[in-house]
Amino acid sequence: MAQVSLEGIRKVYPNGFQAVESTSFTIQDGEFVVLVGPSGCGKSTLLRMIAGLEDISDGTLKIGDRVVNDVDPADRDIAMVFQNYALYPHMTVRKNIGYGLKNRGTPATEISAKVEDAAKMLNLTEYLDRKPAQLSGGQRQRVAMGRAVVRDPALFLFDEPLSNLDAKLRNQMRIEIKALQRRLGTTAVYVTHDQVEAMTMADRIIVLNEGRIEQIGTPYEVYHNPASTFVASFMGAPPMNLIEAEVAEQQVRINGYDGLMPAPAAYVGPVTLGVRPEDVELNNQGSVTFRVDILEELGAHRLLHGTIAEQPFSVLVGKDEDVQTGETRVTLKPDALRLFDAETGKTL
């Protein structure tokens, strides 16, 4: 159990490509932090630097009170779960789980006791003498978890551990991993490109884009107060609507509609207006005209795709709302509107 702190961590590859820009944050003891971002955003590189599988070009990495920049992965007191599980195919589940302990010179009786415990925790007891090839995807995933858990490390690292599972199993494992981490109270860093995983599992989310941190915050903060248009469009499905607008006379104005919300005092000029599809209400007295082009049936909800002032827009309504394609009136909830700088995309 430990706090992890990154101070100005950077990764530059020999060919000059900067995969991770100078990054600083601290992960509290026992916290579950999710690094999320599109592929190539540097999230895996960052994780692998924490693991010690990738050299750190610049900066200081601390696990607990110890600077571990030059410490071998084996000595960092970490355990990692890989995307493809990386189980040793020729070893039984028992040996797979116990291998790390064996290499550290743990006595055989202690290993077998710990392996039994870990297996019990993960419902693997009856599979202990099977080889990985005889297990299903979910079971292999559990063995990979077992291998991490059995060593009782200070830090768990997860590298997209659920992306090879089917959707149903993924939901189940998501809950299991989270519950296990809660129970053990071990600090965890989890990498994923799936924003649903990030939202559901994280204590705090770190959103990365092009090697840069876009935002650090709780799932609630990231969802409701995105720090940039990137975060707004990446987190949440369906994503936040982003439309071009303008601030004049301390009012936000979309082409043709005035007074949607009061704007910050000293600002004049173009902005990007963000609003979540569920924060829009169909309302006959509404001030804004929304032209519905496509109705998407989602079961519990309906997603309406269309345009406002010629700009693409979507609205999420309950399954019982009676909607037709064509023009309809809507209200945008004033306190749910977010403004971003039109140039930089940063929140205003």
Binding site: A51, L53, D72, P73, A74, I78, A79, M80, F82, Q83, N84, A86, L87, Y88, P89, H90, Y99, G100, N103, R104, R147
Partner: protein, 297 residues
């Protein structure tokens, strides 16, 4: 009761159609097998006759009376120029050469491939291609310098001299390199985090994973080593180091002068020489196919 017993087979019996395609396939296969089997068979039948008959009448297609005697003599009679080498000794020498050759090649090429694939060496790719180009320089091309080196080291007429100069293997290195490249990188990383150093990773993970590959290469190299003729001929003059492949010729030669060549003995020895490679191929057959085809590890 009687009805049911009569009816049951009638219901399952179907008119058997002759599938001419299958018949054709089998005819071709049988002819092919016969063609391959015939020379060893003739060798066996001929080996069952005495030297005089063979000398007078040539190859024999029927079994004679001297099969046991010829084999016994071939294996146990001290022969050769010095009269202190028999078939058993040559068999043992062949095994030492074949196994030493195969095992040595596997160890050296596995370690070379391990270094090339898993370590960030300067010029690793260049090193690999240099090793690979040695395929263009087989033993026959470099035989004089090789001989000179061994002779200067005083290793003529030793097993070391017989085996060591041959065990560097570009083929083996290439096969193992391709195999190691197909092993997921995450496996090495997981092992690193599990506290396995380079040596442990090699022994605990890579070697067991490569076992089908090792078996496949063992077969190829054993047969290759077993059949070596030129190098043993050069490097061993002492008859106690003779291998079977050499010995066969020696029998025919030494007996030529005044006597009738002992063709029966030579053929018996040839059959003895054929058995171990065949046995090894049959024994390792499944692994062999797996090793060369299975790539998902």
């Amino acid at each position: 009761m009687a009805d049911t017993t009569l009816e049951a087979p009638a219901a399952t019996r179907r008119p058997r159609r002759i599938r001419w395609e299958t018949v054709g396939d089998h005819v071709v296969l049988i002819l092919g097998s016969l063609l391959m089997m015939l020379p060893p068979l003739i060798a066996l039948t001929t080996a069952s006759h005495d030297a005089v008959t063979i000398h007078r009448e040539g190859l024999q297609l029927t079994l004679g009376d001297d099969l046991g005697k010829n084999f016994k003599n071939a294996l146990f009679e001290k022969g050769g120029f010095t009269k202190n080498v028999n078939g058993m000794l040559m068999l043992m020498n062949s095994f030492i050469l074949g196994i030493g050759f195969a095992v040595g090649k596997i160890i050296i090429s596995m370690m070379a491939a391990y270094a090339i694939v898993y370590f960030r060496l300067r010029f690793a790719t260049l090193a690999f291609w240099i090793i690979f180009t040695t395929l263009l320089l087989p033993l026959e091309v470099r035989i004089l310098p090789s001989y000179e080196a061994i002779q200067k080291l005083g290793l003529t007429n030793t097993y070391t001299g017989l085996i060591v100069p041959l065990i560097a293997s570009a083929t083996g290195t290439f096969f193992f390199r391709q195999f190691f490249l197909s092993v997921p990188e995450e496996l090495a990383e997981a092992a690193r985090i599990d506290g396995a150093g380079p040596w442990k990773f090699f022994i605990d993970i890579l070697v067991p994973l490569s076992r089908t590959m090792i078996a496949a290469i063992f077969i190829i190299m054993f047969v290759f080593g077993w059949n070596q003729y030129l190098w043993p001929t050069l490097i061993t003059t002492d008859e106690s180091f003779f291998t079977l492949v050499r010995g066969i010729k020696q029998i025919v030669l030494t007996y030529t002068d005044a006597n009738i060549p002992e063709h029966g003995l030579a053929l018996a020895l040839a059959i003895v020489a054929m058995i171990p490679p065949v046995a090894i191929v049959i024994f390792f057959q499944n692994w062999f196919v797996k090793g060369l085809t299975e790539s998902d590890k």
